[in-house]
Subunit: 383 residues, 2 copies
Amino acid sequence: MTITSPAGFRAAGVVAGLKSTGAKDLALVVNDGPTHDSASVFTANRCKANPILWSQEVVKDGVVRAVVLNSGGANCYTGPDGFQTTHAVAEQVATRVGIGAGDVVVCSTGLIGLANDRDHLLAGVDAAYDALAADGGNAAAEAIMTTDSVSKQVVVEGAGWSIGGMAKGAGMLAPQLATMLVVITTDAVVPAADLDQALRAATRVSFDRLDSDGCMSTNDTVTVMASGASGITPSLPDFTEALTQACTDLAMQLLRDAEGADHEIAITVLNAASEDEAVECARSVARSNLFKAAVFGHDPNWGRVLASIGTTQATFDPADLDVAMNGVWVCRNSTPAEDPTTVDLEPREVSVTIDLKSGDARATVWTNDLTHAYVHENSAYSS
Amino acid sequence: MTITSPAGFRAAGVVAGLKSTGAKDLALVVNDGPTHDSASVFTANRCKANPILWSQEVVKDGVVRAVVLNSGGANCYTGPDGFQTTHAVAEQVATRVGIGAGDVVVCSTGLIGLANDRDHLLAGVDAAYDALAADGGNAAAEAIMTTDSVSKQVVVEGAGWSIGGMAKGAGMLAPQLATMLVVITTDAVVPAADLDQALRAATRVSFDRLDSDGCMSTNDTVTVMASGASGITPSLPDFTEALTQACTDLAMQLLRDAEGADHEIAITVLNAASEDEAVECARSVARSNLFKAAVFGHDPNWGRVLASIGTTQATFDPADLDVAMNGVWVCRNSTPAEDPTTVDLEPREVSVTIDLKSGDARATVWTNDLTHAYVHENSAYSS
C-alpha cells in the first residue's frame, strides 16, 4: 500500500533535523527503471516557492529519476539564496544516486518565508540515500507530513502492473492544487506524453475539485514516475482509469484530514449546461463561509446554497432551483419543500445536490465545514 | 444625526411583531418633497429576494416617495406568495400616505426561506404611518437592526443642505453589497440622473469595497431620496463628495460591527497597473481565510498575503513584491525584510500595504479577521 509497491522504486524517509519535533522530515524516492518517464502538475499560484521554480524546469523533458521532498520548511519567498538551497539539494541527490541534477524533482512544505537550513538538508539527503529500500515507502510517506494527522497512501492494481501513491496535505486544499505534495509511482510502461495526458485527466476530477478553504498554496506538486519494471504497457484508457482512482482515493484522504474539519461535504451539481458551469456552481457553494459554518452548526441552510449559486454566471432560472441535503429535497423551485429538520447532519459525510434544470452536465466538488478548530489551527500555525 | 435631519422627511420605527424578541421591526421613511428624486443600487446576486424584485421596478422612473423596511424576515426564496406580501405592503403604504404603490421601495432582512406574516406587516405599516415624525429617524434606524449590536447613522452637512443616512448590516458584507440595507436622505435639490451618478460613484469606493466574508446577500439595497426642501442645488462634485463621505462613514460602521470580528483590516494596494487590478489584489487577500485567521491569531503572516496575490492575474513580478503590516515592511522583494515580531496586532485596526511596483493606481478593500465568534454566530444563526 505504498509508493514502493510497484516494482522499480526505492524510497526512504529520515530525520534531517528540520522539524523541531525531531520527526522524520526528508523523503527520497528513486526510480530504478528501466524507464524514467514522468509527468507533473504544479500549483497555479503565480507566487511560487523555489522548489517549484526548480522542478518546473526539471520535468520539461519528461524524464525524472528521483524526487526529494522535505517537510519542516517550504523554502518559499526566500529569494535567490533559497533557490540555491533547492539547487544544492538536487545536486546532492544526483551525486549520490549517480544521475543528473536535471532529473531530480525537489518538493518542500512547511513554513513560508523562512530559509531552510542547507546543511541539515544535505546531510538528510545522504542519510536518505543510505536508507533507500524497496520497502521504504511508508517511511517516505511519514517524512512528508506537516499538520497531517495520518499519512496518506494508496495502491491500485492493474493487470500485471500497479500504481502506488503518497500524499501530504491537510487544509489549504484548493483548485489547481494546494499545499499538497503527491508522488505517484507505477511499474507500467507508459511514455511521458501518455503519462501527462493521464495525469491531467486524473487531477482534473480529483485534486482540482478539492476546495477545503479556497486558498491556493505555493508549493503544490504532483509527480508521477513510470519505471516500466513490469514490462507491461496498459492501454491509455485503462491506465488513466487506474490513475484517476488513485488520485481520487488520495484526494478523499486529504479531505478527511483537513485541518479542524468536522464534516466532509460533497457538493454535486446536476443538469448544468456544461461541466464547467457545474463546477463553477459547486465551487461557489464550497467557498461560502456562511454555508460551511451552517454545516458545522448542523443547520441545513439551503438559503445560503441558493445565495452562493446566485453569485455565478451559470445558466439557470433563479426561481427554479432544487436543493437536496443528504437526500432530502429541502428546496424545490427556489422555495421551501421537504422539512429541513429531517436532515441529519450528525454524520461526517454530507451531500448537497443542486439541480440547475438547464442541461445534462454534472460535477462534484468536495469541501469541509468551517469550524472553531479550523480557526484555531490556522491562527496558531504559521504557514 | 439621522435620516430625518435633512428637511422634508418623516420617519418611524415600530413593533410589527415579526421579531420574536418584541423589538422594533418595521421602519417607514417618507419623502414629503417638494421633489421626489431618487436613485438605488441593489445586490448583484442573481437569486434575489422578493422585495428586490419589486423595488427594482419601482425605482426605474427615478421617483421614490417612501421606503418601508422590515427586519425579522427576509421574504427571500418564498415564491409568488412572498412577492404578493411585498406588493401588499407597498399598497398599504401607498394607501396610507396617499401616493402610488409604484413609488414605494420595500426592503426586508432576516431569515431566508420563511414567509413573513402578512397581517403583522400590514398592521405594522398602519402603526408606522401613525407614528411618522420629523424626528423619527432614530426609531427607524433601530427597527431595521438584525444581528447589529448598534444602529448605524450619519449626517453630512453641506452649504445650506445636508445628507442623512441609516444602515443595517453585520457580516455578510461583500462586493456589490451584502445583507445591508441603507436609506439615505438629502434636502438638496438633485435630479434623479445626478443622484444616480453620485450614488454609483459613492458606493463604488465604499460599500463595494467592504468584503467581510466574501458572501453576497440576497436583499441588499441602497436607496437615496432627495426632497429638495432646502431649495439649494449643490454642484454635482460637491454633492458626490458629501455622499461618498456619508457612504464611507456608514461602511466603516458596518465593518466595525461585523459579526464576531476582532479586527478591522484595511488592505491597500499601491502602484498597481490599474485601479481594477489594485481592487482585485486587495480583494484576494480579503478573502483568504488563512490570512484572516492569522490576523485573529496576531500573526503578521505576509506569506499568506503573497500567496493570495499570486492567485490573481494582476500585473506584477512575483519575485518583487513588498508588504507592510501596520507600517512595518515585513516583506521586500518577496523575501523577509523587517522583523515581523515588531508588528503589533493587538489593536483592532490593522493595515496591510502591498506595493505591486507596476503602475500608479491604488485601492483599499476592508475586511475583518476570521474568529471563533464568527464561526459561532454563523453556525448558530440561520439567515
